[in-house]
Symmetry: C2
Subunit: 135 residues, 2 copies
């Protein structure tokens, strides 16, 4: 298995969601707004982001099990075992979370975004603008 370079944390999620049990499966399923605190060394990389922008937040799902290759979708045992690459399970070999959000506001190194289903303390690894018409 070929190992790649390490990711770095560019920031952290601060959210009222404290555990995976509390979190909806997708932002569109009732997730709250959250804040992202950026590491000061990346401040210049935010230039041009504005309230109202549609963004993709990429996170490192630090509580995920990287050894899982198949799951019952939505933890429903009546659904057949499915490869994790055919699902949005957070358990997967590289547990990168992909979250589409709206920027509610930006104040220095603090972004307010939502809805976001990532739990409090989740490391953020990238931010990207949504491309039109496709992500």
């Amino acid at each position: 298995m070929r190992e790649l370079p390490r990711l770095v944390s560019i920031g952290v999620v601060r959210s009222p969601l404290r555990s995976r049990v509390d979190a909806p499966r997708q932002g569109s399923e009732g997730a709250p707004d959250a804040r992202i605190f950026l590491e000061p060394s990346y401040a210049d990389a935010l230039r041009g982001i504005c309230a109202g922008d549609e963004m993709l937040v990429l996170t490192w799902l630090h509580e995920a099990d990287r050894d899982v290759l198949e799951v019952h979708p939505r933890d429903d045992p009546s659904r057949p075992l499915t490869g994790v690459f055919a699902t949005r399970s957070s358990d997967r070999p590289n547990p990168i979370g992909l979250h589409r959000v709206t920027v509610r506001g930006i104040d220095g190194l603090e972004l307010s975004v939502g809805p976001l289903e990532a739990i409090d303390g989740t490391p953020v690894v990238d931010l990207k603008p949504v491309l039109r018409p496709q992500p």
Copy 2:
């Protein structure tokens, strides 16, 4: 700066695109089809993926410069310097590529997908289904 665990390569892109100079900036801008060869140890994680599926391919853009924080969008010097998090520049702290593709076919550990602007030899780190109505 907080370092996170290493990514692992789950597969590799095989493409007629041999260098960044040849590659379009987005798949929708005339990129060719490509193949993804999955590492055998992840075969079970493909179960349920079918020809015709809309997928997101996450790659590690191994030729990117991780120290770049601002760019002129589309390398156009007449456009103002913009933070990389407000652009789709491949130069960024964590150069994770996000590519929306259609699965053209699947044969064992080999997926045919397209369009894909990633160059030959790019490591693949994740595959996710497109969520409807949002990514």
